[in-house]
């Protein structure tokens, strides 16, 4: 059985006629990086909140590592869209807040040392004692990532973490995230609106049709070799095959998509697989 297994997941909000999404079936393997892509209102954030335990599904089950997910727990680290740092705590104290919860038996010094190490990993060694309002948007989000990473979760959940950042900062943090994830073999589930971001980061991309009654329409495999480089990846001929496929879906097919029947398995596509891997010159 896969590391994370989701079966027949649905969410209906009270007072709503139709569920936001339904019949959601997918799995994530250990160490995999999965992005979920779809228009606003398809329930991406709700899916992530159910995975994190902050929200409850109306139907269906989530099983992670052989156990049903019920309520929030320390085995899943969440990076929030709005970074959600406590403004009265320094960057270091924000990270320590999580570390202390994860290992309550640790001494002050151990907690501090581990938190500093994690902040150094995201390149914030120089800003340990700064309050969030003294940090730039990118630095704040790095602290948020460090806080989630520091508790060494089995799965990292990212809710569109780079949405509010400028392109340059976004690129830098994407690189950092890729390095850390590669080094730690972290399993990641990430929401994004950005097609290029999803191709750069993900092993597989889940495409959601439009809500309400959104469904998992397709799973796109990104077979580009790793390590990937943000500056050269778009020269790979397969890149645009994947990109065009994703954009096509979002622009044309996401609205009209109708599942053949309830509980169907989403189609798995691998755009560009017919193109041979380019040989290094």
């Amino acid at each position: 059985m896969a590391f994370l297994h989701i079966e027949a997941l649905a969410k209906r909000f009270p007072q709503a006629d139709a569920p936001v999404f339904e019949h959601l079936n997918f799995s994530i393997e250990r160490g995999e990086f999965v992005c979920i892509l779809g228009h606003s209102g398809c329930g991406k954030t709700t899916v992530l909140n159910i995975l994190s335990g902050l929200d409850e599904a109306s139907a269906g089950t989530v099983v992670m590592d052989g156990r049903e997910v019920r309520g929030p727990a320390l085995d899943r680290g969440v990076v929030f869209q709005s970074h959600a740092l406590m403004p009265w705590l320094s960057a270091l104290k924000n990270v320590e807040f999580g570390v202390r919860s994860r290992w309550p038996e640790w001494s002050r010094r151990e907690v501090e040392a581990h938190s500093i190490k994690t902040l150094e990993m995201v390149g914030l060694a120089h800003a340990l004692h700064k309050k969030p309002h003294e940090l730039s948007g990118g630095m704040k989000q790095r602290v948020g990532i460090a806080r989630a990473f520091a508790i060494q979760p089995k799965m990292l959940l990212l809710d569109e973490p780079f949405g509010a950042l400028d392109a340059l900062t976004r690129g830098t943090i994407q690189d950092e995230l890729m390095q850390i994830v590669a080094a730690t073999q972290q399993t990641v589930f990430m929401i994004t609106h950005d097609v290029d971001e999803s191709i750069l980061l993900a092993d597989r991309i889940l495409l959601m049709s439009n809500g309400p009654r959104a469904q998992l329409a397709e799973i796109v495999e990104v077979a580009l070799p790793r390590p990937r480089d943000r500056h050269t990846i778009h020269h790979d001929p397969r890149y645009y095959r994947i990109r065009n496929h994703l954009v096509d879906f979002l622009v044309n097919r996401s609205r009209a998509f109708a599942a053949p029947e309830a509980g169907h398995a989403p189609a798995v596509v691998n755009p560009g697989s017919d193109i041979p891997e380019p040989q290094a010159a």
């Binding site: 994190s52 335990g53 902050l54 929030p72 727990a73 320390l74 899943r76 680290g77 969440v78 929030f80 709005s82 959600a84 406590m86 403004p87 009265w88 807040f97 999580g98 919860s101 994860r102 309050k131 969030p132 309002h133 806080r147 508790i151």
Partner: protein, 283 residues
């Protein structure tokens, strides 16, 4: 605020304004030279003072007289010559003790209760009608009820302070707790932080500025109310002092007391403002 180019200008204007006001006061309180009515009964005149008998001198003292009284009080604030003649320091001490007692009880009760109301929409809806009705009641209206049930006048004054301080703290705490950002609570939930630790490490610091604002409003109201309350209950305290000096028709003493009440009120407010700054945060 823009920095002034001449930093001495504002203090100078303040001093000039003070000099002007004192001058006007001096002129207004100037004793008129009156001719004593030759037909006046000399014994009566001797009894109440020649000027008063002639109707010439008002009871309004000049700034100089008030200054002299102020100096006398400041140099000897803690004398005690019987029930109706105690130093200003002692009277202020009594008032402060009552205010602090009532205020601290109010804080001890209103902050936890406000937490409960802020966290639970049910508790909020259940208690809201009571708060809405009780909040606008003048604290002094409780005085007869307090005197009847508590019977001790000093304790009644403390109760009145309590009842007037409790509402701003309660309402502000509930509001502050209810408006803690959902995200911060979610962070605590995903980190499996216990409810008690969440209350102390997330909700309390997040709501602290709002709570402190309520506490600052309360201490201001409490200091306003203590003067009136002590006028009613009598015995000791700055309010009683003012009333007693009114009975003595010593306007100079009353003005001194008014000044002291203002300064102490300002000191209390400044203290709470400092505290509020210490717990404030920028997002």
């Amino acid at each position: 605020m823009t920095t002034l180019r001449k930093p001495w200008l504002a203090p100078l204007l303040s001093v000039l304004l003070l000099a002007f006001l004192l001058g006007v006061w001096q002129l207004a309180a100037q004793p008129e030279t009156t001719v004593v009515d030759p037909g006046l009964d000399p014994e009566y005149a001797a009894l109440i003072g020649a000027a008063a008998a002639g109707g010439g001198q008002s009871a309004m003292p000049t700034p100089g007289e008030v200054g002299g009284k102020l100096w006398a009080h400041l140099t000897d604030p803690f004398y005690d010559r019987g029930t109706n003649d105690k130093g200003l320091g002692i009277q202020i001490g009594y008032s402060l003790a009552r205010v602090l007692a009532g205020y601290l009880i109010a804080v001890a009760l209103a902050v936890p209760l406000g937490f409960l109301i802020g966290m639970s929409p049910l508790a909020y809806r259940a208690l809201d009608p009571y708060i809405q009705v009780l909040k606008p009641i003048s604290p002094l209206a409780w005085m007869p009820l307090a005197l009847y049930t508590i019977k001790d006048s000093g304790t009644s004054a403390v109760f009145v302070i309590f009842i007037c301080s409790v509402w701003p703290i309660l309402v502000n705490t509930a509001f502050g707790v209810a408006s803690v950002r959902r995200d911060w609570l979610n962070v605590a939930r995903t980190l499996e932080v216990s409810p008690l630790r969440t209350a102390f490490t997330v909700i309390l610091p997040a709501a602290a500025p709002t709570i402190l604002t309520g506490m600052r409003i309360s201490i201001g109201i409490a200091w306003l109310v203590i003067v009136a309350a002590e006028m009613l209950v009598g015995g000791t305290g700055i309010g009683y002092f003012v009333w007693n000096e009114w009975n003595n028709l010593s306007i100079a003493n009353i003005i001194v007391a008014i000044l002291v009440i203002g300064v102490v009120g300002m000191a209390l407010d400044t203290m709470l403002a400092r505290l509020a700054r210490a717990v404030s945060y920028r997002e």
